[in-house]
Amino acid sequence: MAHGKKSDEKIVFVGDSRVKKSKGFIVPPDYTAYPGKSEAFIPNFLLKEWMVGVVFLVGFLVLTIAEPAPLGFPANPSATIIPMPDWYFLFLYEYLKLPYASGDYVVLGVIGVTGVAFGALLLAPFLDTGKERRFYRRPITSSLMILAIMAIVYLTNGAWTHYSNEMEATGQKAEHIQREEEAREKRAKGLPTTNAIATKEVAIVEKEDVAMESYKKAGCITCHAADMKGAAGPSLRGIGEVHDKDAILTIIKEGYGDGKMPPMYDNAIAAGLTDKDVDHLAEWLAKQKAE
């Protein structure tokens, strides 16, 4: 380093002469016009703010520990449940059911009123351009907002009441509560509590049957693989659901799919299997069903 530690000389970079030298990152606003005492953000003010933050965090953690996030059952399009958006969308949800926001007026409901309301909110500073800041001196703006809040509270309450009534009328329980109750019951009985969607893998039925040996000996494994999951040929797991014993026997004797699978019967006999072994093999294959 060119500058030793002791150098108090500040390096000044010579920039582009066309760029005006700025007065720092941001010019701090002057608060001398405001009454009272101001104080530094760090540490004085932030400490106060973070006292609030600490209390808030403790409350928040207590909430998360006391109340687990709800989780229902896996989505099933044919389930009969009453759809329910998250609570902060309830007012919109209820509002779109109103006669002038649904049916023939759905366009008015979806685009018209919501568009005007949210547009007005977004552009509030350009609609309320007066100098006055106190809300009680701006009766129109304030009353519109109060009206809107009242409408939101009313609609949210309406949606919730409607939902609870309907749940009661149909005798349904919220799924996340139902799931938790079932899980508790299952846990008490020592059963697994999961509702996970199972990815089906068909197991080999009666794996220790002698037919398994015949299956290997007869040369089936060259195409259908030792684990019966198939290689050149298709998987034979669960084959019993597609063909019965006689059909399988026919396939072994005559082949399948226009010569894609050649007749294998003679092959099997040559490998030392008897007619009875092949018959048993076919019977065993027919038993291969997903449970």
Binding site: M1, K5, K10, I11, F13, G24, F25, V27, Y31, P35, G36, K37, S38, E39, A40, F41, F45, K48, E49, V52, G53, F60, L63, T64, P68, A69, P70, L71, G72, P74, A75, N76, I81, I82, P83, M84, P85, D86, W87, Y88, F89, Y93, L96, V107, G109, V110, L121, L122, A124, P125, D128, G130, E132, R133, R134, F135, M145, E175, A196, I197
Partner: protein
């Protein structure tokens, strides 16, 4: 040691003014709850930011287990909620935090509205704040589908029907949001991408704008 590293960087990049500006700027009395208890209403913005940080962190951690796929989404959420230590709490933070963000943001908006703080010269900051509000609602909407349980699925179907009723563009809009003709695998990945990449990117950009504008213009004066 740290001092030397800091000095080395500062000599080259002159970073001191940036953080001195954040640390030393004056906070006027009328927003200080130590002087006027009613000034606690000025805390809501900060609390919103605090929960937003918790949301970003817990969301990042949740993606360590979550899979956006119609078979595994539910399974992985159930797994992380019931099998992983503290999974219930981390998911709880993200779930309840989402609601609290909306509450705090609503209170913050009301404070700004009723103190008239959005008036000149702070119009732009109000608009940016409103956009943040809409992005947060979008995050809530897209995040609701991700556990892929019945409630999520049917609520999203309703959303899609609402999108569908927009004149002319409705059916296109619906199919674009669904990523197909039904609410299914492609809707889930789409919502996941929006929830985890697109909307947070927009949110962070808007937040930076929001904060820079606050520092540039200062807090609005007392009433």
């Amino acid at each position: 040691m740290f001092k030397n590293i800091y000095n080395w960087i500062d000599e080259r990049l002159d970073v001191t003014p940036i953080w001195r500006d954040v640390a030393d700027h004056e906070v006027p009395e009328h927003v200080n709850p130590a002087h006027h208890f009613s000034a606690f209403v000025y805390c809501f913005g900060g609390l919103t930011f605090f929960i937003t940080v918790i949301q970003i962190l817990s969301g990042m951690f949740l993606t360590m287990y979550y899979v956006p796929d119609i078979i595994n989404a539910y399974n992985s959420v159930e797994y992380l909620q019931t099998q992983v230590a503290f999974g219930q709490i981390v998911r709880g933070m993200h779930h309840w935090g989402a609601s609290l963000v909306i509450v705090m943001m609503f209170l913050h908006t009301m404070r700004v509205f009723f103190t008239g703080s959005y008036k000149a010269p702070r119009e732009m900051n109000w608009v940016v704040g409103m956009l943040i509000f809409f992005v947060m609602l979008g995050l809530g909407l897209t995040g609701y589908l991700l556990p892929w349980d019945n409630k999520a699925y049917f609520a999203t179907k309703v959303t899609m029907e609402i999108a569908n009723s927009v004149p002319y563009l409705g059916p296109v809009l619906k199919e674009l949001m669904q990523g197909g003709t039904i609410v299914g695998a492609q809707t889930l990945t789409r919502f996941f991408a929006l929830h985890v990449f697109f909307l947070p990117a927009v949110l962070l950009t808007l937040l930076v704008g929001h904060f820079i504008m606050i520092r540039r213009q200062g807090i609005s004066g007392p009433l």
